[in-house]
């Protein structure tokens, strides 16, 4: 038995090496993942049809999530709404500012509407799927699953946990250890073209192995717009995997806070091979210091483009939230990138209040695959007449438009913090104008 085990492990490892690691080193692909994806799609469609049939047999309505909201909201302003209410109430002239008891209807209805369905809180939890993807975590209609479907689900569990998971963990382990050792070794070389060349390829190779460790199937669009030296690459943020996805196709300088533990080891190794911008925890709060270091990096044309996620936190990939203006004040060329995940195969969103990093990675590695599209948008620079905030909003709209995401002005920090009082004060000011005029 021990012999058999030894032989099977050797065979497995050779297969691993040939089919996954070697192509990763050279950046080619056999196309296995695409075939896998197509097969899965067919199975999911079949599964959804069966569930619908099951529900129809029992004459029950099926729970279908609606992404566009559940209630009808009129996009009218405070002024228009209140005027409408007053118009229906009395025949008095509408131009004179005054108070009516009926004004309260506006605030009341708006408040109840937000309780039923608001734009912000739903961005901080995973997107609901319209069809089932054979993962129990996304199923809302347990009752309608037939025997065949249950067996298929069981098979899926076996494949995902007993075959894919160990494979992926082995790959991830290989990728990370290669990254750490590779960058440390390259770090000992003297500075020069040789070092840069090796460093670039070590980074790319390890990220590609990590991509395969997650079975990420990525489609890159418009690669001619890829970020160049001296620029800043900004993208919407859904999960820590975004870094792996972008860095496996380009050579970037990362920006971030130094962590402890495994992350810290990786960060310290990476910075030996090429200049990433890591901050100590205390330095992160000092915005001027951060801006200064970024500006210095950007002005040195030999240094790599910086990768930044201006939202500051993970959003569930249905919308883009407010971009923090820090990176847009520096004055470098901005290369926007839009990343859109297909949640059918595995939801990449990291709900950090619900799952820790390890649980999250386990969930990722037990999904079917991570499928996403990356669009490189043409570079943008700040126009003379706009300030940093307007520039940030312009970039944000471009990214939202390309990725098919909702463009929101709300701050992603609302995930954890309370909203600022200034917004309420704005509303109060608007209303005061309606009662007493200017």
């Amino acid at each position: 038995v021990v012999n058999l085990l030894g032989i099977s492990i050797t065979v497995l490892f050779t297969l691993l090496l040939v089919f996954i690691i070697v192509p990763a080193i050279f950046g080619v692909s056999f196309g296995i993942r695409k075939v896998y994806m197509k097969t899965l799609l067919k199975i999911f469609q079949w599964a959804t049809l069966r569930i619908e049939r099951g529900a129809k047999e029992k004459n029950h309505p099926l729970y279908k999530p609606y992404v566009n909201g559940i209630i009808a909201k009129e996009p009218t302003s405070l002024e228009e709404e209140i005027k409408e209410i007053r118009r229906s109430g009395s025949g008095k002239a509408l131009d004179t500012p005054e108070f009516e008891l009926s004004d309260i209807f506006y605030f009341c209805r708006k408040g109840i509407e937000t309780i039923m369905d608001d734009e912000v809180t739903k961005r901080f939890s995973a997107e609901e799927l319209e069809s089932w993807n054979l993962l129990s975590r996304t199923n809302y209609n347990f009752q309608y699953i037939s025997l065949r479907l249950t067996v298929l689900w069981g098979l899926g569990v076996l494949i995902r946990y007993c075959f894919l998971l160990p494979l992926r963990i082995a790959l991830a382990f290989t990728g990370i250890s290669l990254l750490v050792t590779g960058t440390t070794v390259v770090g000992y070389l003297p500075n020069g073209r040789c070092k840069e060349f090796l460093s670039k390829h070590v980074h790319l190779m390890c990220y590609r192995i990590c991509v395969r460790a997650l079975t990420a199937i990525i489609t890159y669009h418009d690669r001619e717009n890829r970020p160049r030296n001296g620029g800043i690459c900004v993208a919407n943020h859904t999960s820590p995997i975004d870094v792996i996805i972008l860095a496996s196709d380009g050579y970037y300088a990362m920006v971030g806070q130094i962590h402890g533990g495994l992350m810290g080891v990786i960060q310290r190794a990476m910075v030996k091979a090429c200049p990433h911008v890591w901050f100590e925890r205390s330095e992160v709060r000092d915005r001027h210091l951060v801006a200064k270091r970024l500006t210095e990096h950007v002005q040195d044309k030999s240094k790599l483009p910086i990768l930044i996620f201006p939202e500051g936190t993970c959003i569930n990939n249905t919308s883009v939230m407010m971009f923090k203006k820090g990176s847009f004040e520096i004055g470098a060329t901005v290369y926007p990138v839009a990343i859109k995940y297909d949640p059918q195969f595995g939801d990449a969103f990291w709900n950090s209040s619900k799952y820790g990093m390890v649980t999250y990675l386990l969930r990722m590695m037990t999904s079917w695959a991570i499928v996403c599209s990356v669009w490189y948008l043409p570079p943008m620079t700040r126009q003379p007449e706009e300030d940093a905030v307007q520039f940030a909003n312009r970039v944000k709209s471009a990214i939202a438009r390309q990725g098919g995401l909702v463009d929101l002005l709300w701050d992603g920090g609302l995930k954890r913090e309370k909203v600022k009082d200034t917004f309420k004060e704005e509303q109060q000011k608007l209303y005061s104008k309606m009662i007493v005029g200017n």
Binding site: E98, F105, M116, Y140, F142, K354
Partner: protein, 230 residues
């Protein structure tokens, strides 16, 4: 038999994983058969019969959607919502009357609201359908009648729940709506004028009947209704 067992297995697997990952035991799953702690009993998958009994009037899919919303707001996962859960909604927090609206959900002296209470309050905002208008007067008035909608708005003004809007109460609510942008004197004169126009029995306060009279021409049915998309 086998099917039922397998299905049960899948459901058990799912709830175990959820229980392991959630911080509190007994996390409610909104779908399938589940325990609704807040409404005191098992909720069968059959349409929420008790909600129908309470004449709340929402359709099955609307109730399911609102239950999904309720559970997503319920961060403590104990089947009830507290005031903090509501204040976590940014668009509600910036509403000048946000606190008064939140208060309307909580019955006297309590600071937790269960799903039944949640739905009862939301039922006021159901649009009035045509076939309901001509119903007979024998049954209790539906929660979304014109009178009940007006009563909801009246209660937003009536801070001490004595069925009268006094000058002080009106001033306080006005202050909430305008913030610091209007002086006390101006606000006082606005309040005085409003009460003068509405008051008919000379007690310098607005009763519910007077409130209804002032708003008799306003299209309350439309302005205090929220339409579902499905």
């Amino acid at each position: 038999m086998l099917l039922g067992r397998l299905r049960g297995l899948m459901f058990a697997w799912h709830t175990t994983r959820r229980k392991l990952s959630s911080s509190q035991p007994g996390a409610a799953s909104p779908f399938g058969s589940w325990r609704c702690e807040g409404c005191g009993g098992d909720l069968a998958w059959e349409p929420f019969l008790w909600l129908r009994e309470a004449k709340v009037g929402f359709s099955h899919s609307q109730i399911t959607r609102l239950y999904s919303r309720f559970t997503s707001l319920d961060k403590g996962e104990n089947g009830t919502l507290s005031r903090e859960d509501f204040q976590r909604i940014p668009e509600l927090a910036i509403n000048p009357l946000g606190d008064r609206i939140i208060n309307a959900f909580f019955p006297e002296g309590e600071d937790q609201v269960n799903f039944r209470g949640f739905m009862r309050t939301l039922a006021h905002f159901r649009p009035i359908e045509d076939n309901e208008k001509s119903k007979d007067q024998n049954g209790p008035e539906p929660l979304n009648s014109r009178s009940n909608k007006l009563h909801f708005a009246f209660r937003l003004y009536d801070l001490d729940k004595d069925d009268k809007i006094s000058r002080d109460e009106l001033l306080q609510v006005l202050r909430m709506m305008v913030g610091v942008n209007i002086s006390d004197e101006q606000l006082g004169s606005i309040a005085d004028r409003t009460i003068q126009e509405a008051d008919q029995d000379g007690d310098s306060a607005i009763s519910f009947a007077e409130f209804v009279k002032v708003l008799e021409k306003v299209d309350v049915e439309q302005k205090m209704s929220i339409r579902f998309l499905h």
